[in-house]
Symmetry: C2
Subunit: 337 residues, 2 copies
């Protein structure tokens, strides 16, 4: 990316091992993330390229001498942040704050260097032509991020849930809330093709209205009280205000959309009076913590999170993929390098 | 109170039963709360009185026809908010959002009308001249509030804790964190008479510095990482900023000081770094939820939360009591009507 709206496909040198803990992975599937649209809207034009992409699934091509548990030829999925998965932060489930961690940003490519490969790559027991690969790719980010939102808000069978966002993360937050036992899941979204998938994933109600009107609608659906938890996968201040409007006293707002604002109301009338718990993930979700947990249901077909991918492009067509997501013509775009 | 700094003691009509769920309590002990100092600083002058006080312990003088479980002559303590203790919100531990609830504001008096008496008054198995009464009075607010801060932040034996505030709530948050098993408790406070009591209650470190200097000190004490939980019993924006500065990635800030600000940074950059996950929780403590839990250790002398009271005044001396707390000459002032 060279600036807002300016995505180009270029030849770059092949990645090579730099550290003995590295691996090189040939990318089989990668994709475009909703968060990639923020620079697609805002990035100042530059002569220097900003490589893109943090979600990938592929085949191990080369391994550093210290990487354990992996063999060349393994089919693997990575979490979008790399981590050693052994430090105290990883042990506490905050892999995104790993002492040796960082974030991928070159995954929309044919190959990628993977630091901390042993802690980052998860071997998949399927073949390269498995129909499950799109669903398995969601474990790299969007599914784990939606699950994180639901986990941090403590969604359980006694919890009513509002999900703000009908994008991939929001839809998979619906799926996650359902998996965690929630019986009432209200999805706020305006695009019926998306909310239909949300209903398939477990949403019991869809509210198309936004702002005050949307808040009134959710309150009406919940006897005036709002829901115990609100999962905000958007990140705009309007979504936060909507979340404050529909959360029940004593409840929790879990925000996993990358916030596009700094200051917001957290004072007496907004948060304190109603005894709300606000979970802020100022950065990305520690999805590595969830891969092992979510993998079995994907493998046996219990869930099909890959349905959020509704368009596939080649590497050359990536600029079209960004455009389609930006115009809401696609929920999430798969890339086949 | 007639305005900032203007506290007067006046004769008012005796309270009477209004609802069949009411009780009338003769106040044996009441006290001044740190939160009473906010209007003491800010209240615009008025010709109309604002009655004060929300913490009391006393003897049941009269009972409405529908009040169960209590008898005239019972010695009781009340939570600072009244509640039926039977509605769904009470059942979920959010008594401060009870469907039939509200807040006391006339407790600095000889007698008080208690709505929802059955759900609000807890009978005490001691006599009116027991030396335990000051400790039992802390169950009305400050002890339960400090405990709420620690509970909501999920303080446990694996959690390091910073407490911001050496006032009564902060000191009892230290005691609560200790009771919940925390082994490392850093108390931020500048008044050695107070922090000494904090150490007695379980603080392992005391940091007198504030702002950036205080943040640096706490980080230094924790290998650069900060603590898993921060209990903010202050409510000023500076305390929130301090909390953000000392909380460990993945940690929780639990705020029980009544916030004196509305907007504050909760965005991407303010969470100092792209990967901090934090929980902001707290609110008016549902202390009724904790009274039964905390009562036994007070009764058998395991804990002595009443040590936060370091001055006693008569009703006539209440204006002096406010002055003493305001000047930090007293931690918390008992009133004997």
């Amino acid at each position: 990316m060279y600036g807002a709206g300016d995505v180009r496909v270029e030849n770059v040198p092949d990645p090579v091992l730099r550290e003995p803990t590295d691996a090189i992975v040939r990318v089989v599937w990668t994709c475009i993330c909703g968060s990639d649209l923020h620079p697609y809207h805002n990035m100042p034009a530059s002569e220097h390229v900003t490589p893109m992409g943090h979600e990938f699934l592929g085949v191990v091509e080369d391994l550093g001498a210290e990487v354990t548990g992996l063999t060349k030829g393994d089919l693997v999925v990575a979490s979008f942040a790399f981590q050693d998965n052994t430090c105290e932060f990883c042990g506490e489930g905050v892999q995104t704050s790993c002492r040796h961690g960082g974030f991928f940003d070159t995954a929309q490519a044919e190959a990628i260097r993977v630091p901390q490969a042993a802690g980052t790559l998860v071997k998949l027991p399927v073949s390269e032509d498995s129909a499950l690969l799109p669903s398995l790719l969601t474990l790299a980010d969007v599914y784990g991020t939606g699950y994180h939102a639901a986990k941090r808000a403590n969604v359980n069978p006694r919890t009513t849930v509002t999900v703000i966002d009908d994008g991939a993360v929001g839809l998979l937050a619906v799926l996650s809330a359902k998996q965690l036992g929630a019986e009432r899941i209200i999805l706020m979204g305006r695009h019926t093709d998306r909310t239909d998938l949300g209903v398939e994933y477990g949403a019991t109600d869809v509210v198309a209205e936004r702002g005050e009107e949307g808040i009134d609608k959710v309150r009406e659906l919940t006897g005036g009280d709002g829901t115990h938890t609100v999962l905000d996968a958007v990140g705009y201040k309007e979504a936060y205000e909507q979340a404050l409007g529909v959360v029940r006293p004593g409840g929790a707002i879990s925000r996993v959309g990358v916030p596009q604002y700094d200051e917001a109301p957290i004072g007496f009338s907004s948060l304190f009076g109603p005894n709300l718990t606000l979970t802020l993930t100022g950065g990305p979700a520690p999805v590595r913590a969830y891969i092992d947990q979510l993998l079995p249901d994907v493998l046996d077909g219990t869930v099909d999170p890959g349905k959020v991918f509704d368009r596939t492009v080649s590497l050359d067509e990536v600029p079209d993929g960004y455009r389609a997501m930006d115009r809401r013509e696609a929920i999430k775009v798969l890339i086949r390098p």
